[in-house]
């Protein structure tokens, strides 16, 4: 039997569509018109003449370098997360030891540690380590703050592997490493792709760590570029909004292909 549609929520969903749609409409149209057209005609009208100049100007104003930096940060964070989280999740799901239980509790607690709360000591640690204004100084804390949610998502996926499969492998005398390689990793592929998408999203959109831990143009990331654009050329709305569109373009492309992975991963965070 199918559930009947929930009309109340259906109505609300249409209101929500308008709420999401309007700013996106303003955003996209504004980027395709000239600055003077935007200030005289207002954000809701169609462009008098369509232009891609805003995007080209942004790219020639150093946004390309910002992009490259963000790409490096994102790829590194994903790599670190992929290296650390699968073995961790495997241990959490399968190890019997008390220590592993404590480790899991530490990560659960970590879910609620906001980056703002540790930003002052992070500044201290990163400066002392000589990593201030280096991308690596942004990568390490960003990856660390990805770990709790990624761990939660991946342990969820690994718990779905039935004990019988482990027993079957144990019959063959498989070592933990072999079980991990031949059973756990292949069967948690869905969870792994959620983790990759989630970590990439976090790293790409990260703002606080770059804001505090970098200062030069050579290490500027996309979000920071947006923020500086806003403070320095705030009146050039079409230019600013084109930068917003550029900043979300890569993540939007990932979303188009990996929507299912992201959605499944986040749906699992709620618990039963």
């Amino acid at each position: 039997m199918r559930r009947r549609p929930n009309w109340l929520a259906g109505l609300g969903s249409l209101v929500w569509l308008a709420l999401v749609g309007l700013p996106l409409y303003v955003l996209l149209l504004a980027t395709l018109r000239t600055r003077s057209d935007y200030s005289t005609e207002g954000p809701l009208s169609l462009p008098a003449e369509w232009t891609f100049d805003n995007y080209l100007t942004d790219l020639s104003n150093g946004f390309g370098q910002d992009f490259l930096n963000t790409l490096v940060v994102t790829a590194s964070v994903v790599a670190i997360v992929l290296l650390l989280v699968p073995p961790l999740a495997y241990a959490i799901v399968r190890a019997r030891g008390r220590t592993t239980g404590w480790v899991f509790r530490m990560f659960l607690l970590g879910l609620a540690i906001p980056a703002q709360a540790v930003i002052v000591p992070m500044f201290y640690v990163i400066s002392k380590a000589g990593l201030y204004d280096h991308l690596i100084g942004v990568i390490l804390p960003t990856a660390a703050f990805c770990l709790p949610v990624c761990t939660l998502v991946l342990t969820g996926a690994m718990r779905d592997i039935t004990p019988e499969l482990y027993e079957a492998m144990a019959m063959d005398g498989a070592s933990p490493a072999r079980v991990f390689r031949q059973l756990v990793l292949p069967l948690s592929r869905g969870g792994l792709s959620s983790v990759v998408v989630f970590a990439a999203l976090q790293a790409w959109n990260g703002f606080l760590f770059p804001l505090i831990l970098t200062q030069s143009d050579a290490t500027k990331v996309v979000t920071l570029g947006l923020y500086e654009f806003q403070t320095e050329h705030g009146v050039d709305v079409p230019g600013l909004l084109s930068a917003v569109v550029l900043s979300m373009l890569p993540i939007f492309i990932v979303y188009l292909f990996a929507r299912r992975a992201l959605v499944q991963g986040l749906m699992g965070v709620g618990g039963k």
Partner: protein
């Protein structure tokens, strides 16, 4: 329920070594700074020379600082407003998205777009949309009056709350969608046999079954609300005056603009303690800590 522990003897299990690299990494870059923030809150530190202990100076200073007290009030207000506005909307959207309507997949793909935007992008877009001279208010005076929404305390708080809804509802709706999908259909079938309508089913089955999801989601909202920062920095700069100077923003101002890192640490420690207490509460209430021995998954 199958338990991981009931598998036959002789099954080789991974040792702690498998968890160690991630644990050490997390300790170094999250837990150690968390402990350091407590130490730094008892020091005077300008960010350049070495920190020097100064006892309770930062704490007594903050206790008598009117902006600090105001910021705590504003933070709590924004947090409560966030939970109150985001919870019902995300429950409705999430439950709706868990259904089987034909247009659901397409619509929910659009709904979740805010999820992809950085807080920076969200704030920049809304600032442009709401700009009194060039934004939507200049064209819809009937709705916005003189249009300078960010110029008054009530307006600025309202905008921050609204932008919070816009930004975070998709995430929570997704979490609720997951929760709603996990509700056994047989409960609805039984209720339908008894003649219960959609609304009754919602209040008597859906909501009670979502109890744990509500707790998890609310905690994420509270922690997010307590640490609101990016939107304040970009949309209001804490203004007008200090009307939207939330604690996280005040910490940033104190430490990184005023070079008083000791006072900044003290504010951060308050945030840590509150957030930790809430997270401990959720680990208990939601039963996350018991899930270790359950094979049900999340």
């Amino acid at each position: 329920m199958t338990r991981a522990g009931r598998t036959g003897a002789g099954v080789t299990r991974p040792g702690f070594a498998w968890a160690a690299p991630a644990a050490v990494f997390f300790l170094l870059f999250a837990i150690v700074p968390l402990l350091l923030v407590a130490v730094l809150s008892f020091t005077s530190w300008d960010g350049i020379t070495d920190p020097r202990f100064n006892g309770l100076d930062n704490w007594t200073g903050l206790a008598h600082d009117p902006v600090m007290l105001q910021s705590v009030g504003t933070t709590l207000l924004l947090t409560v407003l966030g939970v109150v506005t985001q919870t019902p909307i995300s429950i409705l959207l999430g439950v709706w998205a868990a259904g089987h309507q034909r247009n659901r997949a397409v619509l929910s793909a659009i709904y979740f777009v805010p999820l992809l935007l950085s807080a920076t992008a969200v704030s920049v877009v809304w600032r442009a949309v709401l700009d009194p001279n060039f934004g939507v208010p200049s064209q819809a005076g009937w709705l916005f009056g003189d249009g300078n929404l960010l110029g008054t305390r009530a307006g600025a708080i309202g905008v921050l709350t609204f932008v919070g809804v816009w930004q975070f509802t998709p995430l929570h709706a997704l979490i609720y969608q997951g929760g709603a999908r996990a509700i056994p259909q047989v409960l609805y079938q039984a209720a339908a046999v008894d003649g219960a309508g959609t609304v009754r089913q919602f209040f008597h089955i859906t909501l009670p079954q979502l109890r744990n999801t509500v707790i998890t989601s609310m905690v994420l909202m509270v922690v997010g609300g307590l640490t609101t920062f990016d939107t304040v920095l970009i949309l209001t700069q804490g203004g007008p005056g200090t009307d939207t100077t939330v604690s996280a923003y005040y910490m940033y101002q104190k430490a990184f603009k005023g070079f008083d890192f000791g006072a900044g640490s003290a504010i951060a420690l308050v945030l840590v303690v509150v957030a930790t207490l809430i997270s401990l509460a959720v680990v208990r209430l939601s039963g996350y800590d018991r899930m270790r021995s359950s094979a049900e998954g999340l």
